[in-house]
Assembly symmetry: C2
Homo-oligomer: 261 residues x 2
């Protein structure tokens, strides 16, 4: 089944019905995808400030009103409890469960945060003639913990998570330019070609997602990743938090081009 | 005294000493200036979300940690209680006092918000050969309430305030382009040439600041303005809030060019 040319609302109908529970890379070309972090109101100011101080890994696309499950800007209809293919429930910074619907976990004091996702710019990379390996290999993108310390805010602190795409040497500068134009979905890379510098010792062993082939003549290029909040939740240990499962994103109804204001 | 070529820390020393208590337009060319809103922590999440949902009038430059008076990103040293030439104290949405130092009003639960200011782009307009009338006339910029309703967030709601600069017909497009490149200090105009459309009936009678001459062959151009939070404070009526006095800005140590990430 090719989901690349379907409209987001069609794909989300399948997700809500439990017919898609896998990762969303390559779906609905041209539409922005989003990461998720849900926290109690008590933590909302600190977390929003954390995102603002770290816009590369945590570019905020939308924040819900306290207790609200619906979308105002990033989708014409929907439900934050059902529209991601897979969620992770965190208790005191530890992964407690992985589910496809969080309705039973919902609290009236919850605030959701939608954060830009690099899957958004993959159709633009392809359009520019730049290969995207994990799409070619029908896998999730490889993601890695790094040694890049983020600017803390209130109780929140932690290190950046990055995603990696192998890019042919002669296309690296083009890949930088294409993604730099899209700062709300992570923008330009944070590292090119030297994984050790950011604390990644083996690019064949990602901390999240799948390993992909890096061919002769290709350079591993690293972009800030919206899995960062999960790392931050593990470091900060709030009593409860809910995120998406890595790679299992919200497909928004907003086109990437409309995120450039 | 010409402050246009002085360094921000020199000018702020004069402000802290009470030797400058007037408006800051035209000071420290090339450096970003900032608006201020201070609120108790209880209101901080709603207000930060309000700013994020309304980035044209309220582009956030920095938010302090709870209780912090010092700057982390926008100045190498300083004190939010002393570094603006003039402040306004608001009680339940009403102007209660205007002072040059807010140390005695400070509360341990206060959070400050620095918001981009259009004074920042005036040196870029001048550099591009575009006249800035209120600087020529040694006045404060004219500012107006409008009928443009902002997106509410939590308890915060209200209408946009705009600043006006008369621009010669043949330079209007250039003025749009110069300012569009600076979204963190309000960016492109919100209205060109038709004040009535946004609810302004008489451009010779600004709601804040001074009236300036509009010559034959010039068009009034309106930019979103960081006095907007004062309008929002009046509409929302929090028990206490502190803002700068219109036109009496913080001159940051950060150059405009460094705000383009």
């Amino acid at each position: 089944m090719d989901y690349s040319h379907m409209h987001p609302q069609e794909v989300k109908r399948l997700i809500r019905a439990g017919e898609i529970t896998g990762q969303t890379s390559g779906m609905c070309n041209g539409y922005a995808q989003a990461n998720l972090c849900i926290l109690p109101k008590e933590y909302a100011f600190d977390f929003l400030l954390f995102c603002m101080r770290n816009p590369k890994p945590c570019p905020v696309l939308e924040v819900g009103d306290v207790g609200s499950k619906s979308f105002r800007f990033m989708a014409s209809e929907g439900n934050v409890c059902k529209d991601f293919p897979k969620y992770r429930i965190w208790k005191n910074g530890k992964l407690a469960d992985e589910v496809t619907d969080i309705t039973e976990y919902w609290q009236d004091d919850f605030v959701y945060f939608l954060i830009g996702c690099s899957f958004s710019f993959e159709s633009e990379l392809l359009e520019a003639g730049i290969p995207v390996r994990h799409i070619e290999e029908n896998k999730n993108v490889p993601m890695f913990n790094t040694n890049i310390e983020l600017t803390p805010a209130g109780v929140f602190h932690g290190n950046m998570v990055v995603s990696m795409r192998p890019i042919p040497n002669h296309l690296v500068v083009k890949a930088v330019n294409v993604t730099a134009a899209m700062p709300r979905v992570h923008g330009a890379p944070v590292q090119i070609g030297n994984p050790k510098v950011i604390g990644i010792l083996d690019i064949s062993k990602p901390d999240y997602g799948d390993s992909v082939t890096v061919n002769e003549g290709e350079v591993p290029v690293f972009w800030a990743c919206g899995v960062t909040p999960q790392n931050v939740v593990m470091a900060t240990k709030p009593p409860v938090a809910i995120t998406h499962a890595p790679g299992h994103m919200l497909i928004t109804d907003v086109k990437n081009v409309d995120l450039k204001y």
